[in-house]
């Protein structure tokens, strides 16, 4: 039987990276993958050795790979998990997080919507005026920041991958949401404000497929249960479109990401946000207005 060989040795290839014109075996893919994540961290000055890193974990492949890898790279990591209270979903993913944290001896901190906002997401959507993902996105982001601050983390690492990033870029570009784009990037958050914990995305150059493969090869057990609220129609269209382009023109996604990175300083300069960061009049969290988005939404659902 003909076996497809690794481009770097005689072993059998487990992945074809068309964009890099390479086929790699288990060992060389693992090395290639880890080297790229390390390069992303260094290139974007994401971490210093002394940093305490809160890793936002969900139990899915991306966040668990991120936790595993930062731990392997000997960073001082602690896991933070946001329990939105989505029955049949979050309760099924949490055991995967607990298992990995136990194996690697990593502290795990769980913060819940119920405790913080008085309602689970399931309860929230009963009174909803907006799609569930709108509430969840705002509450999650806010709570992750609080969680990272409460455990005295210097950075908050999240498992956004190449697919998430390119979808976000194209969606914002298509909707002409350039201010949102200016606020995105490999490192997000205001350094000068103690209330913000900078968010970093070390996996932003790794595709979803590469993350799955890395998890399987390193034996990381993850949940692939789908969130019952997932499925934003526009994101699905953008995903399909990007996947089709990547298939026909390998390297499309990395090209979009790198072009965005080059444009980012220009966008940031153009959208230089004036005024100070205020403290929300209700909860004290940082906001550009008087009341933060999270408190505005909380009011909607009470």
């Amino acid at each position: 039987m003909i076996k497809v060989k690794c481009s770097l040795c005689n072993k059998k290839a487990v992945i074809e990276l068309k964009y890099a014109n390479k086929k790699l075996c288990e060992k060389h893919f693992t090395l290639f993958y880890e080297k790229r994540v390390r390069r992303t961290i260094v290139k974007n000055s994401m971490l210093r050795r002394k940093d305490k890193v809160a890793v936002g974990v969900s139990g899915g492949k991306d966040s668990l790979v991120l936790l595993y890898l930062l731990h392997k790279m000997r960073y001082n990591v602690e896991a933070v998990l946001i329990d939105e209270g989505i029955k049949g979903y979050r309760d099924k993913t949490i055991p995967y997080v607990e298992k990995l944290c136990k194996e690697l001896n990593i502290p795990l901190h769980v913060f819940s919507f119920k405790e913080e906002y008085g309602k689970t997401l399931n309860e929230t959507v009963k009174k909803r005026k907006r799609p569930a993902c709108s509430y969840c996105g705002v509450f999650r982001r806010s709570l992750l920041n609080k969680a990272a601050r409460r455990i005295n983390a210097d950075k908050l690492a999240i498992g956004h991958n190449l697919d998430d990033e390119t979808q976000m870029i194209l969606m914002n570009f298509t909707r002409s949401e350039l201010l949102r784009l200016a606020r995105a990037g490999p490192v997000v958050g205001i350094v000068e404000d103690d209330r913000f914990v900078q968010r970093i995305k070390p996996l932003r150059e790794c595709s979803e497929k590469e993350n799955v493969l890395y998890a399987l090869l390193t034996g990381i057990k993850y949940s692939d249960v789908e969130c019952p609220y997932a499925g934003e129609a526009f994101r699905s269209t953008v995903r399909e479109c990007l996947n089709m382009m990547e298939e026909k023109h390998p390297g499309t996604k990395l090209g979009i990401l790198h072009s965005f990175d080059k444009l980012l300083p220009i966008l940031k300069e153009h959208f230089q946000e004036v005024g100070e960061v205020n403290a929300c009049k209700v909860c004290g969290e940082p906001t550009s207005g008087e009341i933060c988005k999270s408190c505005q939404m909380k009011k909607e659902i009470t």
Binding site: K12, I15, E16, Y89, E208, D224, C227
Partner: protein, 66 residues
């Protein structure tokens, strides 16, 4: 020949012509190559892999839903 296909703990038997490759199986079950990592009898393989009678094929979905 018949192979066993497992996706998210759901098993099914699929009949394919002898000497079929993984690619043909994916086409038959209408699965896009870029949306899965796949293993044959516990080993990760590429879509060029030739399949045999009784093989256990596992498909790991790439797209996460949440």
């Amino acid at each position: 020949m018949k192979v066993e296909v497992i996706i998210r703990d759901k098993k099914k038997k699929i009949t394919l012509p002898d000497n079929s490759r993984m690619k043909s199986l994916l086409e038959k079950i209408n699965a896009k190559e870029e949306e899965y990592v796949f293993s044959r009898n516990g080993k990760i393989v590429l879509s060029d892999e030739k399949l045999k009678e009784g093989d256990k094929i596992k498909l790991f979905p790439v797209i996460s839903g949440g």
